[in-house]
C-alpha cells in the first residue's frame, strides 16, 4: 500500500480509534475484575483510571465517527459531537476538582479504587495532565469538524500540543525521570495512557491528511519528500542520543557538561549529515526535473513546430468552444493573430450559419468520443473553401473530456479537380455515347450497303445468267455457223475439185487426141493449164485439211515427243541422202496431246526447217526444250531451230497466218498453210506459238504446251 492511499483511507485514524476503544475496554475490565496488569501494565507503575478509560472510549468512538462523518451522515455527526462534549465535561470536572479541592464524586463513581499508590494523589482521579490532554483532544476533534481552513489548522495545532505532552511523558518514562515538581505532586499519567495518546495524536492529526500541516507530510511535493526523510532523524536522533547520554552519565562515564557536549555534537553531526544526504538526493531530483522540463519544452517546441509548419489548420478548443491553441496556418488562413483568438469562439469571427455548423460537428465528435471526419466550408478572403476536418475529443489524465482538437485540410483544389474530373468523365461519356451512336448508324449504313451489295450481287448473278444464256445462244449460233461453214467447205471440197478434174482430164484427152500434133506453143499452153490445175488441187486439199483441223475433235493421249521426232527424222533422212544435215535432238518430254496433230506440227516445222536451209552447204537442225521460260512449272516450251535463210522480224506477225508467205514461190515452194496449221493445233492444245529470226541467220520456232493438259477449246 503506498503512502498516499495510507493517508487517504485514514488508516491512522481508524487504528487510533480502535486502539483507544480496546485499551479503554481492557482497562475497564481490569478495574471491574481487579486485574492489576490491565490497570497498570507493569506492576508498581501508576494505573489508568476508570474516567481516563471512559474518555478514551469517548474520543476513540468520536474519532471513528469523525472519519465516518465523511459519508455525510447527520446522526453520526451529532453523536460524535455529543461524545466530544461528554469528554470535555469529564475533563473540566476533573480539573475543577484539582483546582478547587472539591470532590464531585465522579472519580469513584463506577469502580472504587481502594488503595493509593505512590503516584496517585486522589483515589480514582485521572491525572491532571491526562485531563488537559483530553481537553486538547476534544478541541482538536471539534475544530476538525469544520471545513474552514483555519479551523483545520487549529485542530492540528491542538493535536500537536497534546502530542507534545504525550511525547514528554513517554520520554520521561523511557528516561526514568521523576517528576517531583509542580503537577507531579498530583496523580501521574499511566504508560498505556501515554501510548494511547500518541496513537490518538496520529489519528486526529491525519484526520484531514490533505489539509493544513498534515498536507506537508502527505503531499507529493519536494517539501514532503524532504520532511518524510528528515523527520525520522529529527525525532529519533535526539531521543536516542539523549538516552545514550543519560545512560553514560548514570554509568559515570562522563559528567553532565561533557554529556551535553557529546549529545549536541553527535546530534549536530548526524543531523547535518542527514540533511546533506537528503539535500543531495533532492538536488538530483531537481536536476532530473529540470531535465524533464527541458525535454518537455523541447517536445512542446517540436509539437509547436509540427503544428505551425503543417499546411493543415490545427486548433484546440475547450468544452465551451473557446480556442486554447491554434497553429500558424490558422493565423495565416483567417488573418487573425493567436493572441487575439485565444479565448474566443468561432462565433466571434465566422458567420453564424458556418459557426453553427462547426459547433454541431464539435459537439458530435465529443459525444461520439472518437475522431470523426467532416467536410466544412469556410470563407477565406471572400472565397469559399472546402476543408476536410478531423475532430476528436481531448481527455485529461483522469479520463474526462476537457476539450476538442481539430485538423482541417484545405481540399478546395482537390474538390475542384474532382469536379473537373467528373465533368471530363461526363464529357467522355457523352463522346462515347455519340461515337456509339455514330457507330450504330455506320453499322446500319453498312448493313444497308450489304443489302444493296447483295442486291447488286444478285443483279450480277442475273447478268451473269443472262450472259451465260447469251453465251449459250452465241455458241449455238456459232455452232450453226460452224455447221454452215462445214457444209461450205464440204461443197468446196467436192465442187471445186470437179472442175479441176475436168480441166486436167480433158487436157490429157486433148493431148492424146492431138497425138502431139500441136505446135510447140500449143504444147506449152497445155502444160501450163495442166500444172495450174494441179496446183489448184493442192491448194484446195490443203485448205480442206486446215478447216478439218479446226473442226475435228482432239484425241488426247500420252505422247512421247522424243520418239515421235525420231520417227519423223528417220522418215526424212531417206529422201535427203544427198544433203549434209546435222540433227541435234535433245531429250523431249511425254505430253498429253493429240498424237496425229502434234505429228503434223513437227512435220510442218521440220519440213520448214529443211526447206529454208536447203540452200546451205551444211544444214543444222536443233529440236529441244527452252528452259528460259518464266513459268516452267506450268508449261513446256519446245523449239525447232534451223540455220537457214531466216526471216525479217518485221513480218513475224504474218508468219502464222493462212496463205502468208515471206518468200517467193520461186525460191521456196509451198503455199503458206503449214504454220497456220501449227498455230491452230497448238492453240487448240492451250499453248502458244512464236518465232525468232535474223535474216540469213536461221530461224527458231517455239511452241508451248500446258503441263496440266489444259485445253483452249
Amino acid at each position: 500500500m503506498d503512502k498516499e492511499n495510507f493517508f487517504q483511507k485514514r488508516l491512522f485514524t481508524k487504528i487510533a480509534a480502535v486502539l483507544a476503544i480496546l485499551v479503554s475496554s481492557f482497562v475497564m475490565a481490569g478495574w471491574i475484575f481487579d486485574i492489576d496488569i490491565l490497570k497498570s501494565v507493569v506492576p508498581g507503575l501508576v494505573s489508568m483510571k476508570v474516567n481516563t478509560a471512559i474518555c478514551f472510549s469517548l474520543v476513540g468512538t468520536s474519532l471513528y465517527l469523525e472519519q465516518e462523518r465523511f459519508r455525510n451522515n447527520k446522526y453520526i455527526s451529532h453523536i460524535s459531537l455529543l461524545l466530544i462534549i461528554a469528554t470535555v465535561f469529564i475533563t473540566i470536572a476533573t480539573l475543577f476538582q484539582y483546582l478547587s479541592g472539591y470532590d464531585l464524586g465522579i472519580d469513584q463513581l463506577i469502580v472504587k479504587e481502594t488503595s493509593l499508590d505512590a503516584r496517585t494523589s486522589h483515589l480514582g482521579r485521572m491525572s491532571p495532565i491526562t485531563a488537559i490532554s483530553f481537553l486538547f483532544v476534544a478541541g482538536s476533534l471539534y475544530f476538525s469538524r469544520s471545513k474552514n481552513k483555519y479551523s483545520i489548522y487549529l485542530s492540528q495545532v491542538f493535536a500537536l500540543i497534546f502530542g507534545q505532552i504525550a511525547l514528554i511523558c513517554l520520554i520521561s518514562y523511557v528516561y526514568g525521570a521523576e517528576l517531583s515538581y509542580g503537577i507531579s505532586r498530583f496523580t501521574q499519567i499511566a504508560i498505556h495512557t501515554v501510548i494511547t495518546f500518541i496513537f490518538i495524536f496520529f489519528g486526529v492529526f491525519f484526520l484531514h491528511p490533505n489539509q493544513a500541516i498534515a498536507s506537508i507530510i502527505t503531499s507529493n511535493h519536494y517539501g514532503t519528500f524532504l520532511a518524510c526523510r528528515l523527520l525520522p532523524f529529527a525525532i529519533l536522533i535526539p531521543f536516542v542520543f539523549g538516552f545514550l547520554r543519560l545512560v553514560g552519565e548514570r554509568m559515570g562515564f562522563y559528567g553532565t557538561t561533557f554529556g551535553i557536549t557529546l549529545y549536541c555534537s553527535s546530534t549536530i553531526a548526524i543531523l547535518v549529515l542527514a540533511i546533506l544526504w537528503q539535500s543531495s538526493i533532492l538536488n538530483k531530483l531537481d536536476i532530473d526535473r529540470k531535465n524533464k522540463e527541458i525535454a518537455l519544452r523541447e517536445s512542446e517546441q517540436r509539437l509547436q513546430a509540427i503544428l505551425d509548419n503543417s499546411t493543415a489548420i490545427i486548433f484546440l478548443k475547450d468544452l465551451e468552444g473557446r480556442f486554447l491553441l491554434i497553429n500558424k496556418q490558422f493565423e495565416k488562413m483567417f488573418l487573425i493573430a493567436r493572441q487575439e483568438l485565444i479565448g474566443k469562439t468561432v462565433y466571434d469571427f465566422f458567420p453564424k450559419k458556418l459557426a453553427d455548423c462547426y459547433t454541431d460537428n464539435d459537439l458530435q465528435a465529443i459525444k461520439e468520443g472518437k475522431a470523426i471526419e467532416y467536410e466544412e466550408d469556410a470563407l477565406q478572403n471572400g472565397e469559399e473553401h472546402t476543408y476536410l476536418a478531423i475532430k476528436f475529443p481531448l481527455y485529461n489524465p483522469q479520463g474526462d473530456v476537457y476539450g476538442l482538437a481539430g485538423i482541417s485540410t484545405d481540399i478546395t483544389q482537390r474538390k475542384q479537380i474532382e469536379k473537373e474530373l467528373k465533368n471530363t468523365k461526363e464529357k467522355l461519356e457523352e463522346i462515347v455515347k455519340e461515337r456509339t451512336r455514330e457507330l450504330a448508324e455506320t453499322n446500319k449504313k453498312l448493313r444497308l450497303e450489304a443489302i444493296e451489295n447483295k442486291k447488286s450481287q444478285e443483279e450480277i448473278k442475273k447478268l451473269n445468267e443472262n450472259l451465260e444464256k447469251r453465251v449459250i445462244e452465241r455458241t449455238k449460233q456459232l455452232e450453226t455457223i460452224n455447221k454452215e461453214l462445214e457444209a461450205f467447205s464440204y461443197s468446196v471440197s467436192h465442187d471445186l475439185r470437179a472442175p479441176l478434174r475436168h480441166i486436167s482430164g480433158f487436157i490429157e484427152l486433148l493431148k492424146k487426141n492431138t497425138n502431139n500434133n500441136l505446135s510447140e506453143k500449143g504444147q506449152h499452153y497445155i502444160k501450163v493449164i495442166s500444172e495450174a490445175s494441179k496446183k489448184m488441187g493442192v491448194l484446195i486439199d490443203e485448205l480442206l485439211s486446215f478447216s478439218r483441223m479446226g473442226r475435228s475433235e482432239l484425241r488426247n493421249a500420252n505422247v512421247d515427243l522424243e520418239k515421235m521426232v525420231e520417227k519423223l527424222v528417220k522418215s526424212y533422212q531417206e529422201s535427203l541422202k544427198d544433203r549434209k544435215i546435222t540433227w541435234c535432238i535433245e531429250k523431249l518430254p511425254i505430253v498429253q496431246a493429240d498424237s496425229a496433230m502434234l505429228e503434223l506440227v513437227f512435220n510442218n516445222l521440220i519440213s520448214n526447217a529443211l526447206k529454208y536451209s536447203g540452200k546451205k552447204s551444211e544444214t543444222k537442225i536443233e529440236i529441244g526444250i527452252d528452259l528460259t521460260s518464266n513459268n516452267r512449272t506450268e508449261e513446256v516450251i519446245i523449239f525447232v531451230r534451223d540455220n537457214g535463210v531466216g526471216f525479217d522480224m518485221q513480218y513475224v506477225d504474218k508468219l502464222f497466218g493462212v496463205f502468208q508467205r515471206l518468200h517467193k514461190t520461186e525460191e521456196f515452194e509451198g503455199i503458206g498453210i503449214g504454220l497456220a496449221n501449227v498455230r491452230r493445233i497448238i492453240n487448240r492444245h492451250g499453248g502458244r506459238t512464236w518465232a525468232e529470226s535474223f535474216l540469213g541467220q536461221g530461224a527458231t520456232f517455239y511452241f508451248s504446251l500446258p503441263k496440266n493438259g489444259e485445253k483452249n477449246e
Binding site: 464440204y490 461443197s491 471440197s493 467436192h494 465442187d495 475439185r497 470437179a498 472442175p499 479441176l500 478434174r501 475436168h502 486436167s504 482430164g505 480433158f506 487436157i507 490429157e508 484427152l509 490445175s533 494441179k534 488441187g537 484446195i540 486439199d541 480442206l544
Partner: protein, 148 residues
C-alpha cells in the same frame, strides 16, 4: 441367152460422166454403161419408174454412185438399194469427190461395196476407174441376176 449385164453410172456432172466413160472404155469391156444424172432418176431406173417404166428387166452388174447429186443424193440412193431385198446384192461403188469422213463412214455403214475418191489428177483418175472396171467386172464374181 446370157446377155451381158450393163453398168449403172449415177453422175450429175456431164463432164465427170464423160471422163468416167472414157476411162471405162479404155478397159475394152463389153458391158454397156447406162448413165443417169441424179438420185431420183437412179431410183426410177432401178424401180422401173418414170422414163424407165418399160426398160429391159435386167439388173445392172455394178452401180457407180456419185454422192453429191441433185434431188436425192447418193447416200439416200445407197440406203434404198441396200435396204431392198431384190437390189441389195448389186455391188455399189461410191465414186465421189468427197473425202469427208462422214460420207465414208455413212456409206460403209449402209453396206457400200467400195468407196473411191475421184483423184484430181486425170492420170490417176483414169487409173482408178480402169482398176474399178477390171476388178468388179473381170475379177469379181457378181451375184446372179434375179430378174432373169
Amino acid at each position: 441367152m446370157n446377155k451381158i449385164r450393163h453398168i449403172l453410172l449415177a453422175e450429175d456432172n456431164i463432164n465427170d460422166a464423160e471422163l468416167t466413160l472414157e476411162a471405162l472404155s479404155e478397159n475394152n469391156l463389153a458391158n454397156e454403161v447406162v448413165v443417169v444424172s441424179d438420185g431420183a432418176e437412179t431410183l426410177d431406173y432401178l424401180y422401173y419408174q418414170g422414163n424407165y417404166r418399160s426398160r429391159e428387166p435386167i439388173d445392172p452388174i455394178l452401180i457407180l454412185l456419185d454422192i453429191k447429186m441433185p434431188k436425192v443424193n447418193g447416200i439416200e440412193v445407197l440406203r434404198k438399194i441396200k435396204s431392198d431385198e431384190k437390189l441389195k446384192t448389186i455391188p455399189v461403188i461410191m465414186l465421189t469427190s468427197s473425202r469427208e469422213e462422214k460420207d465414208l463412214v455413212d456409206s460403209y455403214k449402209l453396206g457400200v461395196n467400195a468407196y473411191v475418191v475421184k483423184p484430181v489428177d486425170f492420170e490417176q483418175f483414169l487409173y482408178a476407174v480402169k482398176q474399178i472396171g477390171l476388178f468388179w467386172l473381170v475379177i469379181n464374181q457378181a451375184p446372179p441376176n434375179k430378174n432373169i
